[in-house]
Symmetry: C2
Subunit: 237 residues, 2 copies
Amino acid sequence: MQRYFSKEKIDNRFVLSDDDIYHIRTVMRMKDNDEIIVVNDKKAYLCCLENVKENIGIIIKKELEKIDYNTPEITLIVPILKEQKMDLILQKSTELGVSKIIPILTKRSIIKLKPSDYDKKITRWMRIVKEASEQSHRVDIPKINDILTIKELQNLEGFKYVCSTKEKSKNIKLVMKNVKNCDRINLVMGPEGGLDEKEETELNKIGFESITLGSRIMRVETVPLFLLSVINYEFME
Amino acid sequence: MQRYFSKEKIDNRFVLSDDDIYHIRTVMRMKDNDEIIVVNDKKAYLCCLENVKENIGIIIKKELEKIDYNTPEITLIVPILKEQKMDLILQKSTELGVSKIIPILTKRSIIKLKPSDYDKKITRWMRIVKEASEQSHRVDIPKINDILTIKELQNLEGFKYVCSTKEKSKNIKLVMKNVKNCDRINLVMGPEGGLDEKEETELNKIGFESITLGSRIMRVETVPLFLLSVINYEFME
């Protein structure tokens, strides 16, 4: 069943955005009495449509049961990558339960964004995680943070790790065994060429422990999928 | 460093395909004495080029150290999906160490291939896994099996699982704890609408145990990435 996020609830009705109403009317061609699911304030509701063609009404029929995923809040800290890779990361990490994405500026990023383009990019990324949240039946949408530098990552709470290629780093399995019962995990990944050594040292200084993901050589966009799969798995009951 | 697979070794030289020689000469514009890595018979060698412009020679300098991944042989059994999703699965599961892909025909596949198109598709898939193997520095290339029906899956050896949405199925974490020290794992995943109930029952009858991947709703192309990430993680030392 089609799902939409709503920001406003008035009595037993929801208000949807113009884009969503266009989607219901024109893309999905829904009719009166058709059912949709509307998510509001982290709860999902079965709703039914009335008067679709004119002043559409979205009427609550019942609240749906909540699914508990057991996973902690996961913040993924990711360099700005080429559009296709960035989109894939946003979509897949939303499916796999990421809570927040912090885009960061790193030395080896191939993409050099002008600060004047930041807002446009963030709007695009917000649209992608919203759509992925609907498709994966989430009751929340991952937050997209403003673009930060590495220095600005110093006040994050929770467990903090940076994906490293240094041989001496602990592997993620050793580390994950210690993060049971944690509320928040922050994970930094590097761009295609990896983080610069100075950047990794800077992260280590502000509390990010270097970890490796084993000996496989993964493309940059595979890294967050691996990380999030493993966290979901480790917190599975 | 650029990597190529070679099927033939003559004394201290490798023979590469015409495509790879075109890539070296025209795409990479390499010169005499440039180095490449050539993989032959599951071993990787540092090589150096001579006489690039005319009768190119690929001379072995030394054999490179082998990386041990500890993972069992993984066969991924996957319905025929739309090209973009199929390509992503092939690329990413190669990165994550799949040994063999068996494409299968399922009732709910949207894609209906004509048998006359099978060979063309298989050639395309073989090219994708070859390129992904080079990029992820593998010393072997996943095998692409002929397209099979579910009935034809009955003689596979090793542990056998089918991804299910049935609530009663065990979750993958419970199952993975029992597959230590195993040589082979066979994993069936369904198409977008899932496997038909009869298909799942048929698989159960020929030894495939139904498992769930937790409560997250993943797109079809995310499933193999999750499965392979988790197996890599579980077999990490």
